[in-house]
Symmetry: C2
Subunit: 110 residues, 2 copies
DNA sequence: AAACTATATCGTAATATTGCAATGAAATAA
DNA sequence: TTATTTCATTGCAATATTACGATATAGTTT
């Protein structure tokens, strides 16, 4: 099939998996890393940093934006991208919760 | 094309994206949630919890295992799965680093 | 206005993922 | 030994993703 059966899972599970999926490509991690590395929000030139053609990067940016991981502001004829903290906080909280739950369990096998 | 150009990215970027990709499906998040919810490691019956056929779940478990997110111990003719903390720590550290970096920047735009 | 710059969208080819029925393999129970 | 149970693997169809050339759009410059 190839189509995920999203309707069978909880909203939280879909939310986390959607965010994780958006991060599931090295180019998109590289974009986030670059947005962090640069002091101000970056207007363009992500294309010069990655080994991908402009349409491909535009597509990756769109996916990050759709997932809510980055925001884009129009600035003249360029677009200024930066990280959206909200989404990252959701992920951070999720992993923190898992970690504390594991800690609590101290599994009796494995 | 459809093939990711992994060779162009840093090891860290590939590591994080691989882990994120493994979490990029609600069924796999549901599996992790279930492993956490149950007190001991679970031997089977994930199939009864999810709306997917047994081969499909076996496939998802394999992907989680390949990514290093879960471990499996053979126990008679059943297999006992549980979460591997190491991979989760890597992700947690990554998101923590991003958060502190964003905090430091206090972006002057967006 | 025309030329230029920056980004998005379209179309398409190559490849990957998702899901399942059928089947296999391996331990256990009868 | 012959079921039975539990999980993995194979093979395949449907769909999604990745990448890019060509083209469109929109602002800027000349």
């Amino acid at each position: 099939m190839g189509a995920t059966k999203t309707e069978h899972y909880s909203e939280k599970q879909n939310q986390i998996s959607t965010l994780a999926k958006a991060l599931g490509h090295p180019a998109r991690i590289a974009i986030l890393d670059f947005l962090l590395k640069v002091d101000t929000c970056i207007c363009g030139d992500i294309v010069n940093e990655l080994p991908l053609a402009q349409p491909t990067i535009s597509q990756h940016l769109k996916e990050l934006k759709n997932a809510g991981l980055i925001k884009g502001n129009i600035e003249g004829n360029a677009i200024c991208y930066c990280i959206d903290e909200t989404a990252l906080e959701i992920l951070q909280d999720y992993f923190k919760t898992i970690s504390t739950n594991i800690e609590k369990k101290k599994s009796n096998c494995c």
